[in-house]
């Protein structure tokens, strides 16, 4: 799965997050920060992670969430990592 494809899937997830203004999703890049650029409350990251699991059919470990950063690229990296981990099992 290419990064652009993951980004598009992630944007679909973000459009369902009540606390994120859809207008802010225009022009989102991998450098966009959920907290500073999208003004998402930090507690929303857990909800986003839960929705990402469902959207991409993956399962995060506790440690994945501990180390997850707040930028779009951090989540994309994590999705790629978890998908690869699943394929290697």
């Amino acid at each position: 799965m290419e990064r652009q494809e993951i980004l598009e899937g992630l944007l679909e997830v973000l459009r369902t997050v009540r606390t994120i203004d859809p207008a802010r999703l225009e022009g989102v890049t991998e450098e966009t920060d959920f907290l500073t650029d999208l003004s998402a409350p930090s507690t929303e990251l857990i909800n986003i992670a839960a929705k990402v699991e469902h959207k991409f059919g993956i399962e995060f470990e506790d440690d994945d969430i501990d180390r997850m950063g707040s930028k779009v690229k951090d989540v994309i990296d994590l999705i790629i990592l978890v998908k690869a981990r699943g394929e290697n099992k």
Binding site: T43, I46, F60, D62, I65, D66
Partner: protein, 211 residues
């Protein structure tokens, strides 16, 4: 808590028999009958839970505390609202979260203590209706709304307990359905409603990464 105190608690470990018995409770039972001193290991002088009266590991808990003179010192004899929130958090997200994580890792809280620090993530709305004085016993009724990745969110209420009530006996046949409806006697006086009390067990190494 100093590092020395933390290590002393870890060193003062349970005997093999005690650990086996505690693990059996963790895997097959609940927190009723377990002393909060065995579960709430961080900041023992600031522990604000006396007894667990009812517990359904995935649904919620009922726990009580009676503020002491020390708890109300310099505050007109009144137990502070902020301490009520702390007490509720200890009774709910910390106790219930610790129990579930111990169950997952098949370990006891003292073993978990070397890996994680329980931390507040968020406090939602809190509405206060009444007050508590030194010697007043209150209960925290907490309902687990979310638990994943060591993060727990609870809603709940705090009630002042009627004088001379046997709380263990009263809650001996309590149910999850009654918890969700706060179905208890009108003799309990509502003190506070709490929403979205959120906490997480954070890896110690992440706490210390900037040191």
């Amino acid at each position: 808590m100093t590092e020395e105190q933390r290590l002393a608690i870890l060193k003062g470990a349970l005997t093999d028999e005690e650990r086996a018995a505690f693990l059996k409770i963790i895997q097959e039972g609940d927190l009723v009958g377990v002393s909060p001193t065995q579960v709430l290991l961080h900041g023992p002088t600031k522990r604000l839970v006396n007894t667990y009266h009812w517990h359904s590991p995935n649904k919620g808990i009922v726990a009580s505390y009676t503020p002491t003179d020390r708890d109300v010192e310099d505050h007109f004899g009144i137990f502070r609202g902020v301490d009520q929130v702390e007490s509720f958090a200890q009774a709910s997200i910390v106790s219930c979260g610790t129990f579930l994580e111990c169950r997952k890792q098949n370990c006891t809280p003292d073993q978990l203590m070397g890996k994680f620090i329980p931390a507040f993530i968020s406090i939602g709305q809190v509405n206060f209706h009444y007050y508590l004085e030194s010697g007043d016993t209150y209960i925290c009724l907490a309902n687990i709304k979310f638990y994943k990745w060591r993060q727990m969110v609870c809603d709940g209420r705090i009630y002042k307990v009627p004088k001379d009530l046997d709380i263990d006996k009263y809650f001996s046949d309590f149910t999850e359905e009654r918890l969700l409806k706060y179905d208890i006697s009108k003799d309990f006086r509502l003190v506070a409603e709490l929403f979205d009390i959120t906490g997480r067990a954070i890896l110690i190494e992440l706490f210390k990464k900037n040191e």
